[in-house]
């Protein structure tokens, strides 16, 4: 802790929380559980289905390109790709339904959670955080130590962007899956809109959420490099968490709810197995990131070149 604190410059560092006595209800529970098993499984299935959707959808969007035609051959042609795409879409829709159920539970059960301090809803503090970060980026100030509660501004932004994106993709995808049913209610031009939105939304999701945002913040941001393990392991050491999200830590200590989210670290053997899996996932993620980044650069260059 000490070495980290000396690295932090700027006024924000003054608000570093003073370490409080941890009211450990169960001995050995030294880790903060950031994500439940349910959330991590949903994340896993979204990750798999998203990648599958991208890999089976993008070659169709760029069907005039040689790489797309080659890749389409590898995955067994358009009809095959369409089937895999729809199958992956069902998995993603299931994840969305799970998430909706989860939100409903939050809204009903834990009153005040939605608008409270641990909220996903952007607020004034997020604006201040973004401003401080941009100030640091352009060299106007030293590196801020963000006083985060449960979610940082970049996580909130991504959450809402992804929510809007997945809604649009599911709705437009369903329209194209059932065009006869859709045109019973809407005029035919709705299918043209669906194509534009599905195709543009796919590029947006892939480029913005994956290349420029999610992968960056989960893997390549200096604090997380090479991978933020919270979504993978579920928990992270309490000190680390208290440093990263001081407001939530303080709040939980104040409210006496900290021991609700404290868990024991995983066993040595399990850690070893997990580490192998972890390196595989990280390697694959970084490889995909490089490929997607090259792809988005190529799209951007083409787009600019089209004027």
């Amino acid at each position: 802790m000490a070495s980290i604190e000396t690295d932090i410059q700027g006024e924000a560092a003054a608000f570093e929380p003073t370490p409080m006595a941890v009211p450990a209800a169960v001995a050995g529970h030294t880790h903060f559980r950031r994500f439940t098993a349910f959330q991590r499984w949903v994340h896993f299935f979204i990750m798999v289905s998203f990648s599958t959707l991208v890999l089976t959808g993008m070659p169709l969007k760029y069907s005039d390109q040689v790489w797309a035609q080659r890749w389409m051959g590898v995955i067994g042609g358009v009809q095959n790709a369409g089937m895999i795409h729809r199958f992956a879409a069902i998995i993603m829709v299931s994840c969305v339904i799970c998430m909706l159920g989860f939100f409903a539970r939050i809204l009903i059960k834990s009153k005040g959670h939605f608008w409270g301090p641990g909220t996903m809803v952007p607020n004034g503090q997020d604006y201040q955080d973004l401003k401080a970060m941009v100030g640091w980026f352009v060299g106007k100030r030293s590196r801020p130590h963000l006083q985060l509660d449960r979610y940082a501004y970049y996580e909130k932004g991504e959450f809402w962007a992804a929510s809007a994106g997945v809604t649009i993709m599911c709705v437009t995808g369903a329209m194209m899956w059932y065009p006869q049913l859709t045109t019973r209610i809407f005029p035919g031009i709705i299918l043209n809109f669906a194509i534009v939105n599905h195709s543009g939304g796919a590029l947006l999701a892939m480029g913005f959420v994956v290349v420029f945002w999610h992968f960056f913040h989960a893997h390549l941001r200096p604090e997380a490099f090479p991978m933020d393990k919270a979504m993978y392991a579920g928990g992270l050491p309490l000190e680390e968490y208290a440093h990263e999200r001081p407001l939530e830590y303080e709040r939980r200590v104040r409210e006496g709810t900290l021991d609700e989210v404290l868990v024991a670290p995983v066993s040595e053997t399990r850690m070893k197995v997990q580490n192998v899996v972890w390196w595989i996932i990280t390697g694959a993620a970084l490889f995909l990131w490089a490929v997607f980044t090259l792809f988005v650069v190529w799209v951007t260059v083409n787009w600019i070149g089209s004027f």
């Binding site: 980290i4 690295d7 070659p59 169709l60 969007k61 069907s63 005039d64 797309a68 035609q69 389409m72 051959g73 042609g77 358009v78 009809q79 369409g82 970060m133 941009v134 640091w136 980026f137 352009v138 590196r143 970049y154 962007a161 194209m176 065009p179 006869q180 045109t183 019973r184 005029p187 035919g188 031009i189 299918l191 043209n192 809109f193 194509i195 534009v196 939105n197 543009g200 939304g201 590029l203 947006l204 480029g207 913005f208 290349v211 420029f212 945002w213 960056f216 913040h217 390549l220 941001r221 200096p222 604090e223 997380a224 490099f225 680390e240 440093h243 990263e244 988005v296 951007t300 787009w303």
Partner: protein, 290 residues
């Protein structure tokens, strides 16, 4: 007359009948396989025979023998279509106006039904009614020496290019649809030009008999898409997203999408690039900062 003489006479008559009946058949067989066509190919299989201009298009005088043999029509005499041509250097009398005549009669001799449909079509009217030399007749779509069956995958694959020679813009917008994209990716069962517009009897949308007229378009879509309604068919197939002239609404949506993507990519790109850059400069990666 004794029995022997009677049997001999019968045999003679039988033999004579066989010879009389079989001789022309044999002669025809001979002429088709080796005779007249061989004499044409004596010259026309040479690769350096030069070119002529037919209907404004420069064409080689050399006939690709393999292509010709593979085609359905290799059993026909050359002169079945090249009527009046003699096996020697062709005179102006043979050549002049032959193409204009042949494109109307050469195919219709055998394919009368198809030709009747074509005659009533938009294309047929252009050729025969308006004497438009650019409009397609049989050979422009089916080819000439290398005609292949319309059931063959090669023929189906060539349809887009075939129509695109004149309808360039339409084949471009077609390739922007799911049909076009998957057709180009090798899904040959996907609808291509002729599946919606018909083939021999193509009519403009304004004609009630057209496959894509208001009255018929739902049925045309319904060939593949069960329960397709007129509203289903009002989907804009040939829409160019890059220009407002095609459809102002689709263009607006496309443009707003492009702007949104450009804006968010720019913001996201700058944000993560600067984050990365600052992290590198301040040595955060080297220290394993968490």
């Amino acid at each position: 007359m004794n029995l022997r003489a009677f049997l001999g006479t019968c045999l003679g008559i039988a033999l004579l009948t066989v010879v009389v009946l079989a001789a022309p058949a044999g002669a025809v067989q001979f002429s088709l396989a080796h005779g007249a066509n061989g004499r044409c190919l004596d010259c026309h299989s040479k690769p350096d025979l030069g070119t002529i201009v037919v209907n404004g298009e420069r064409k080689s005088l050399t006939v690709d023998e393999n292509m010709w043999h593979d085609s359905v029509h290799s059993r026909l005499d050359c002169t079945a279509c090249h009527a009046g041509f003699q096996p020697r250097e062709h005179t102006a009398k043979e050549k002049d106006g032959w193409y204009e005549q042949a494109k109307l009669t050469a195919c219709s001799d055998c394919h009368a039904d198809q030709f009747a449909m074509y005659s009533g079509s938009f294309h047929g009217n252009l050729v025969m009614g308006e004497r438009d030399k650019r409009a397609p007749s049989c050979a422009d779509c089916h080819g000439s020496h290398g005609i292949i069956s319309n059931k063959s995958p090669g023929f189906r694959a060539s349809v887009l290019h075939m129509c695109g020679r004149c309808h360039d813009e339409k084949s471009g917008t077609y390739l922007d649809t799911y049909h076009g994209k998957s057709f180009r990716m090798g899904a040959m069962s996907t609808a291509v030009c002729t599946d919606c517009h018909g083939h021999h009897r193509i009519l403009p949308q304004s004609n009630p008999d057209s496959t894509i007229s208001k009255q018929n378009v739902a049925a045309t879509c319904g060939k593949c898409h069960e329960h397709a309604s007129t509203r289903f068919a009002s989907f804009l197939v040939h829409v160019d997203r890059s220009t407002p002239r095609s459809s102002i609404w689709v263009w607006l949506m496309e443009m707003s999408h492009s702007l949104l993507i450009a804006g968010l990519f720019l913001f996201g790109g700058l944000h993560c690039f600067m984050y990365f850059y600052r992290g590198l400069r301040e040595g955060l990666y080297a220290r394993g900062e968490h």
